[in-house]
């Protein structure tokens, strides 16, 4: 029978002049898993937030078992049985899993004291019932990304209980962790829960969902059963006209093809007790380093970009020590850097799109703000255009969607072939078509003589970009070789997960 139905959900954002959702309807039965797919900015996340009560819709209604849920009320949505798992986990780091689950409606003993025991019992029952692999007494700060996701889901179950909405649940998970998550979701569905899965990863959709809602430009483009769909159908349904990324037009002459490696990393310790890692990237080459979360990719990013000084070993750019190059010069001329921590490090969210996109080009615009404001706006528009970033120059970066934020980074860092490009998760939150286009730009820049160091947790992305691939496991280089396309994927995956590595190899 029908558990949840959303009818004619419409939401308009006045700030950004965008119609996020336009008369979207969908329904969900007990035990059903429905995926909502669409490109960036198609209105998926907003739809999820409306159903979860985080955003009040302008019109339309959400019904649970025929009862109308009050718009914009998380409380009411929860009491109707809707639990929400946000894209970015909001658990409190210093509390245990169980304390997080009950946070906000703590069980009391004698009417006042927080009863930790009751919290643990309640959490343990949920964990047991649905076969989570999670210790209720573990502190959240000690959990892996996958365990955190599980804790998020337990919380959604504890609070809602009937419908679980997951917004891009695998964006921070590795592939093995993702498949674990989908097994878990299948168990939940079998127990009669309804699951609404927001994602843009089509392979996941086809694996996990029973039914699929395709959104395009805020409206429902199709509503189909999973067995009627394949990836080609879905991506053609999702595809939006216009707003494509194209290769940058302004190119400086090719850089010198000879000389020392453009980027050289010598003897960098990437994990405790790990053999130090050494890598070098030549001009015109794209080297991808793949690793699962927690295997040293983050430290490699910090060292190669100069954000942190390695305790031992050194980083050379064109044969010169990175630390000895003045930072402003380094970033504006020599080193393009797309951080994986986009919101923390890649963008200044309160500042305008214009200030963000022109941040490396300060010397072209010596006098700011009052004078030359028009000229800077025009320059920002011109910079955004080839990367399909549709935003106003004076719009705050915080108001951009995830995909547009990533486009902004691409536009800032890939607008010209710099000597070295350190790109950490450069395809994150882009839709499939944009990913292919961004990868093409990276290949183009390599062809023009840039040296690319691309840090990725996804093997397919590495295969689409790199000439050469290195795999890291526990901070050590466990595999290094040419990109052999899809045929090498299995070998890479086993290297990344440490399969076939004897304990002795760490000695």
């Amino acid at each position: 029978m029908e558990l949840l139905s959303a009818r004619g959900i419409t939401k308009y954002f006045r700030d950004t002049l965008t119609l996020a959702d336009d008369r979207v309807s969908l329904s969900l039965a007990e035990g059903e898993t429905r995926a909502v797919v669409g490109e960036n900015g198609a209105g998926k996340s907003n739809l999820a937030r409306v159903i979860a009560g985080l955003v009040a819709q302008d019109s339309g209604e959400v019904l649970v078992r025929g009862r109308r849920v009050r718009p914009g009320s998380v409380r009411d949505a929860e009491s109707a049985g809707i639990g929400f798992v946000p894209q970015v986990s909001l658990l409190a780091e210093d509390l245990t899993v169980a304390e997080n689950i009950v946070l906000g409606r703590e069980p009391r003993s004698m009417g006042f004291f927080l009863s930790k025991r009751m919290a643990y019992v309640e959490t343990a029952m949920l964990v047991e019932r649905f076969g989570f692999r999670l210790d209720p007494e573990a502190r959240v700060s000690s959990l892996s990304a996958a365990e955190r996701r599980q804790a998020d889901i337990v919380r959604a179950l504890a609070w809602g209980g009937e419908v679980v909405i997951l917004d891009e649940p695998t964006s921070i998970l590795s592939e093995t962790e993702s498949s674990g998550l989908f097994e878990l979701l299948a168990r939940l569905a079998k127990a009669g829960k309804a699951i609404l899965l927001i994602t843009h990863r089509l392979s996941e959709v086809l694996r996990a969902a029973d039914s699929i809602t395709v959104l395009r430009d805020g409206a429902v483009a199709a509503d189909l059963r999973a067995d009627e769909a394949d990836e080609a159908i879905l991506s053609s349904l999702m595809a939006r006209r216009g707003a494509r990324i194209s290769a940058p037009r302004v190119f400086t002459p090719p850089l010198r093809p000879d000389g020392p490696p453009a980027l050289e990393l010598r003897d960098l310790p990437l994990a405790r007790d790990a053999r130090p890692a050494s890598l070098s990237v030549r001009r015109g080459e794209a080297l991808a380093v793949v690793a699962l979360a927690g295997n040293g990719l983050g430290l490699l990013e910090d060292y190669a970009s100069g954000m942190a000084k390695p305790p031992a070993g050194e980083v050379l750019v064109g044969g010169v020590r990175l630390a000895s190059i003045r930072r402003g010069l380094l970033r504006s001329r020599l080193l393009g850097y797309m951080p994986s921590a986009r919101e923390r490090r890649g963008l200044c969210l309160p500042a305008s799109m214009r200030d963000n996109i022109l941040a490396l080009r300060a010397s072209e615009f010596p006098v700011r703000d009052w004078i030359g404001r028009r000229r800077r706006d025009a320059a920002a528009r011109a910079a955004a255009l080839p990367f399909g970033l549709s935003a106003q120059p004076r719009q705050a970066a915080a108001s951009l969607s995830g995909g547009n934020r990533q486009r902004l980074l691409l536009a800032r860092e890939l607008d010209r072939p710099r000597e070295v490009l350190v790109l950490a998760e450069p395809l994150q939150s882009l839709d499939l078509a944009s990913q292919a286009e961004a990868a093409a730009i990276m290949r183009e820049l390599a062809a023009r003589g840039s040296a690319l160091l691309v840090l990725l947790s996804n093997i397919e992305e590495a295969i689409g970009i790199a000439d050469r691939i290195v795999a890291l496991y526990r901070g050590e280089i466990v595999w290094e070789g040419r990109n052999e396309g899809a045929s090498g994927a299995a070998r890479l995956l086993s290297a990344m997960t440490g399969a076939g590595l004897g304990r002795a190899s760490t000695a």
């Binding site: 970009s305 954000m307 930072r327 923390r344 490090r345 890649g346 200044c348 010596p366 719009q395 915080a398």
Partner: protein, 341 residues
């Protein structure tokens, strides 16, 4: 347009004017409760500062050091640093100005304005150095500017008061003060007998420069990015010394504020003469917003409250502390965002 865009000046000013207006309503209520003759008190409070050109010019003069300290606080805020040391930076400014003006007095033969300029620059340098200690400590050890600037300033204020009231004291006077500065080194009075001196126009020029610096210069816009997201500033390759520059400028402005007290109305350094201008400057900055645009009206408003409560305490029976209460009310309304800024 997005919420962030600093739309029109009017839209930004409205909530602030509302808060200041509310503070005036408080003033009226306060007078009704605290005074036996509320009518006289209110008239003295609101109209007193404008009743004669003397008191109006005195109001302008007293706004100058306040404005300088407020601009300093604004620039530090903009860079994301809470410079709580304005009081101490102004205090070392008074000492530096008095010492250099005293020393120059013995030299003679200096062109008239050069001596003043040197004394003010000495004050700026002293304030700047004190502020820089905090900035450097933060870069080296991670000690928070908010704490170190406050602690250093407390210590500096005590040391300055000791020096003025002790070894440097003018033995020929009954005041706890240093010897008077020669008239040649003092900021000339613009409308004698009122205390209005060159300090006020100088502070106006400083305000214009500060606004231009924060909004119109490359360094100013970089300081803003630093203040909004320091990690972004580092990733984008902004100079790691940018924060220290902002603190240095902030301290220099507070030091200049201190020099106005010495070189302007009093003409000598006295114990405790900063009398809270650093703290009041901080409050003015909080009301003004971080780009310095609102600093002048806010500083004038504070000076008006000071002057008004002084008038009301002389002409009626209102306590001179009234201004502190009202300033606190205005500050509370703004910072608690009861009126949305």
């Amino acid at each position: 347009m997005s919420a962030k865009t600093p739309c029109s000046l009017a839209a930004r000013a409205a909530p602030r004017v509302a808060a200041l207006g509310a503070a005036l309503v408080f003033a009226a209520l306060y007078a009704l409760i605290a005074s036996s003759d509320p009518r006289a008190a209110l008239v003295a409070f609101f109209a007193g500062p404008f009743s004669s050109s003397y008191s109006f010019f005195a109001l302008l003069e007293s706004s100058a050091p306040l404005l300088a300290c407020a601009l300093g606080a604004c620039i530090a805020f903009r860079a994301g640093a809470f410079n709580l040391g304005g009081e101490g930076q102004a205090s070392v400014g008074t000492l530096a100005a008095a010492l250099s003006a005293g020393a120059l007095g013995g030299v003679g033969k200096l062109p008239p304005f050069l001596g003043m300029a040197i004394a003010m620059l000495a004050a700026a340098a002293a304030g700047s150095i004190l502020a820089l200690f905090s900035a450097i400590a933060e870069r080296r050890t991670g000690a928070q500017v908010m704490l170190t600037s406050f602690l250093l300033a407390q210590a500096a204020t005590i040391a300055v008061d000791w020096a003025i009231g002790g070894p440097l004291r003018d033995s020929g006077s009954n005041l706890l003060a240093m010897p008077a500065i020669a008239a040649r080194e003092r900021l000339p009075l613009l409308a004698p007998p009122s205390p209005l001196s060159l300090a006020f126009p100088i502070s106006l020029v400083m305000a214009v420069c500060a606004v231009f610096f924060t909004k119109g210069s490359k360094a100013g816009s970089e300081i803003r990015l630093l203040g909004k997201n320091p990690e972004f500033a580092r990733a984008i390759g902004l100079s790691p010394r940018l924060g220290a520059w902002a603190m240095g400028i902030s301290g220099a402005l507070a030091g200049m504020g201190g020099s106005f007290l010495v070189l302007g109305r009093t003409g000598r350094a006295m114990v405790g003469m900063t009398g809270g201008i650093g703290w009041n400057g901080l409050a003015v900055a909080l009301i003004a917003g971080t780009d310095g645009l609102g600093a002048l009206p806010s500083a004038l408003f504070f000076a008006w409250l000071d002057s008004g409560s002084r008038q009301a305490s002389i002409l009626a029976d209102l306590s001179p502390d009234a201004s502190s209460v009202l300033k606190a009310a205005a500050l509370f309304l703004i910072t608690a965002k009861l009126v949305e800024p």
